[in-house]
Symmetry: C2
Subunit: 248 residues, 2 copies
């Protein structure tokens, strides 16, 4: 039942995230979305609006993972250099795509189609459109790199367009187990033993802190239901035993 | 008036962020914090709980930037491998620090100080503590790498502890200008000209989308007040001119 692992990275392009001015809302959304469709997100990078940085990150990530999703930098202003940078990373030219000009003219008067707006109609040679039902101007996909807007509502619509065309793998399933008030240090040894005995599943312990104490959850993840359930049973049994010892 | 640029990267360590289970709250917080104290955040990476990935990212980022801040992976469970990975990245050993054991015993009975909890007392040779007033067990700093908890309230307290000890540069100032309802494509050409004429400042255009239309803001950033104000005046004059043309 082994299936191919389909992997992905996200590259967030934008000074505004690095300066703290804008809180990113795309990483968490894309992460959950990819997990749901059976694509394993393995890495995220955030880089500034600088061509060399974008080119280097695009080339590092596209070669390593099945897919690379970028967000940001595809508008009409001088700081929007994602299309140029992706074309440079691939060593291909940009061209003005008449189909994008036509889409833009659905929203613009011809006299408003100025040079800056025409920049948004430029895509790398060989790229396909990623539809943008929100504001028309599409993103694009070049080989395994999917270039999307940074505005969350537009990015989300673009992801809906591109997702059905992706190769996906087995979906990662997960089960969250409440740690019954037992501190991490109380169950860490038992959990390590279970992780060793159930090596095909991924087991994580996630503390949250509030009102002066920790509220912990244990998350078991696997692409196969049998091993997942077996590990969950083992974790629950361990927690019950520890809880009984604590006299609860 | 040129001052040294102090730069930083953030490395978020955690499967839970990549799976979408947990939405990261640390990147935006640290980004804003560093900007306020005059440290320029230049890159962020998120990697899974895998030693090779953490070691590679730590070495890439610590060599390139003045500081590297990591979050996550310093608890007592088997998936907490940040201390091990950072020690490996530096090629130094971990040791059990009696001062951390003593701190832990302020909260724990001696019989509860088990093997798993002792793992949290291990820090790399040469590392200094980063105080944790919330739950006692400290983070650590080794040369330019600052290792912090992933739980936001604890991470924030650790950042408060380490920040006064950092070398900081001139603070980046910024001014946000509302684009007066003018679409990006309407002011992009003018803004590009201003960016060219004011090359020492950073000018960005940030669209937001809501209720079927864009609401744009232009942000001007600089470490020097004179150039900042001059660019702001130029942007505001351009917007007024465009607005007048639109007959508003």
């Amino acid at each position: 039942m082994a299936t191919q692992n389909i992997t992905a990275a996200i590259l967030v392009i934008g000074d505004e995230i690095l300066s703290g001015r804008t809180k990113d809302k795309n990483i968490g959304y894309i992460a959950g979305y990819l997990t749901n469709i059976g694509v394993d997100l393995k890495e995220v990078r955030v880089v500034p609006d600088e061509e060399d940085e974008i080119v280097a990150a695009v080339n590092a990530l596209r070669k390593r993972y099945t897919y690379l999703f970028t967000t940001g930098g595809i508008g009409p202003t001088h700081d929007d250099i994602t299309a140029d940078s992706v074309a440079k990373a691939f060593g291909v030219a940009l061209y003005e795509d008449q189909r994008i000009i036509d889409l833009m003219l659905q929203r613009l008067k011809p006299e408003d189609l100025n040079e800056a707006r025409r920049r948004m109609a430029r895509i790398p040679v060989g790229a396909e459109h990623v539809a943008n039902p929100v504001s028309k101007v599409p993103g694009f996909r070049l080989e395994n790199v999917i270039v999307m807007a940074g505005v969350p509502s537009i990015m989300q619509a673009m992801l809906d367009d591109v997702a059905p065309k992706l190769t996906t793998g087995a979906r990662m399933m997960s089960k969250t187990i409440d740690a019954m008030g037992i501190p991490e240090g109380g169950y860490a040894a038992g959990l390590a033993d279970i992780a060793k005995a159930h090596a095909s599943v991924i087991i994580g312990s996630y503390p949250q802190f509030g009102e002066g104490r920790f509220h912990n959850q244990i998350v078991v993840r696997s692409k196969e239901e049998g091993p997942l359930n077996a590990a969950v049973v083992a974790v629950e049994a361990m927690l019950r035993e520890l809880s009984a010892k604590q006299g609860k």
